[in-house]
């Protein structure tokens, strides 16, 4: 395998050639294989809304960089939700591209069949021009005119996640978009079963050589080892199922709609202690729940844009994701811009860092 890891990542070259100024490289979770943002072997970012809560991961530092004002846009990657989950937890706007729309050459892989390189920003209007630079070969599509809400996914979310999401849906409808509802969880869970096989199987094969490295945490080592129990035929069968899964999702969920709508996460952003395996309050089940609504999108290869839609009962951001058909990236981003022109959930100053921002630097409205 040649991932082009010996030179200059395509996405960095494109941003640099377009005149962007790199502030730095951001922290992430071990091998980008952890949805909470916690890192057992290194320092890890803190949530700018409340330092005691997770940032989400694996693009944890990128989310914190944009929502704190250190950067305007940030590159991340998304294999099972790694852009959308930290966007939810920190109040960022995130774009997970159609699979293959943005080059991954020069990026450390996790599961190549699912990996996408994308962007985070404080708002879609800031994200849009950079997305156009990174996905220059994606043809523009017609605007999003209709969406379908995955009603059972919305009902399954905790109340203080569900209520802001409903406000976000109302805002989408106020943009003139037709909104209908469908039961989508059975289709999502059928896709998710294959997503787990591909993610675990490919990650294990890519990183098997690290199993004996002391620098890898025991929890991650166990996850990688689990993937090695998936045989080649099973892995190949799950990869080959993508076209059928896309057909099924389009028939059973999307119908005639342009995009599906559901929360990024069904649960509130958890406290840090619940993501630390050494803590008595650690919850492995909760870690699984963090990405339960995001992984299926990677298996389909579809694009998604996540937008902040309010705050939970602990004052932490909540996000909604809009999932479109392959190639509808710019239409999704354009809808996010329209929604954010009418709403004020994005761009708020995070409470845990407001004392560190200087109004004379031109960043604040």
């Amino acid at each position: 395998m040649d991932f082009g890891l010996n030179g200059y990542a395509d996405v960095l070259r494109r941003l640099d050639d377009a005149g962007a100024c790199r502030v730095g490289f951001t922290a992430m979770t071990e091998l980008a294989y952890e949805p909470s943002g916690y890192n057992a072997v290194s320092t890890y970012p803190r949530n700018p809304w409340n330092l005691d809560f997770i940032t989400g991961g694996s693009s944890s530092g990128s989310a914190v960089a944009v929502t704190s004002g250190a950067a305007v846009i940030a590159l991340g990657s998304d294999t099972g939700g790694s852009i959308r989950i930290p966007s939810h937890c920190t109040g960022a706007t995130g774009w997970k591209p159609s699979w293959g729309a943005v080059s991954v050459t020069g990026a450390l892989p996790l599961a190549p069949f699912l990996d996408c390189v994308g962007l985070l920003a404080r708002c879609a209007a800031d994200l849009a021009p950079a997305a156009a630079v990174l996905a220059a070969d994606v043809a523009p599509r017609r605007a999003i005119e209709s969406v379908v809400v995955m009603a059972d996914a919305l009902r399954g979310a905790e109340p203080s996640v569900r209520n802001p999401c409903q406000h976000g849906i109302d805002a989408i409808q106020a943009c003139g978009v037709a909104v209908s509802h469908v039961e989508g969880l059975p289709a999502m869970e059928a896709i998710d079963a294959h997503a787990m096989i591909v993610m675990q199987g490919e990650a294990a094969r890519v990183h098997a050589g690290r199993l004996d490295r002391a620098a890898i945490s025991p929890v991650l080592r166990k996850r990688i080892a689990k993937g090695l129990t998936i045989d080649d035929a099973t892995l190949a069968a799950s990869r080959a199922s993508r076209p059928q899964l896309v057909n099924d999702f389009e028939e059973q969920v999307l119908g005639n709609a342009d995009a599906a709508i559901l929360p990024v996460m069904a649960i509130r952003t958890p406290p840090l202690a619940e993501a630390d395996p050494a803590s008595p309050t650690f919850s492995a089940r909760q870690l699984y729940e963090l990405s339960s609504y995001t992984r299926f999108v990677n298996m389909l290869g579809f694009p998604a844009v996540s937008i902040p839609v309010g705050f939970d009962d602990r004052g932490l951001p909540v996000a909604l994701q809009m999932v479109g058909r392959t190639g509808s990236d710019f239409a999704l981003i354009a809808l996010a811009v329209r929604v954010q022109e009418k709403t004020e959930w994005h761009g708020r100053i995070p409470t845990a860092i407001s004392d560190l921002l200087d109004s004379s630097e031109g960043l604040l409205a």
């Binding site: 100024c21 250190a70 305007v72 020069g106």
Partner: protein, 84 residues
């Protein structure tokens, strides 16, 4: 700072303000870092050399997942390189 204070959209800023935001980005990142630990490396941005292109001056960060001249991700790179 008031509760109603907000970040500006980059696209809505005039050029002098964009230049100011870009020029102060590194200082801001350093100021935030002890509390947030978002970065593994903060670089020196050369705002003056930013050319007139689609993303002129826009301060960006990159997940420590990408290779660049003079940069390799913090992971145990030599092991990974042998593997692939």
């Amino acid at each position: 700072m008031t509760d109603s204070a907000r970040f500006s959209n980059w696209a809505a800023l005039d050029k002098p303000t964009q230049t100011m935001v870009a020029a102060t980005a590194i200082d801001r990142a350093h100021r935030l870092e002890p509390r947030l630990r978002a970065f593994v490396k903060i670089e020196r941005t050369d705002v003056e050399s930013s050319t007139k292109n689609a993303l002129t001056l826009i301060p960006y960060a990159a997940k420590d997942l990408f290779v660049a001249p003079k940069h390799r991700p913090k992971v145990d790179w030599r092991t990974f390189w042998i593997l692939v």
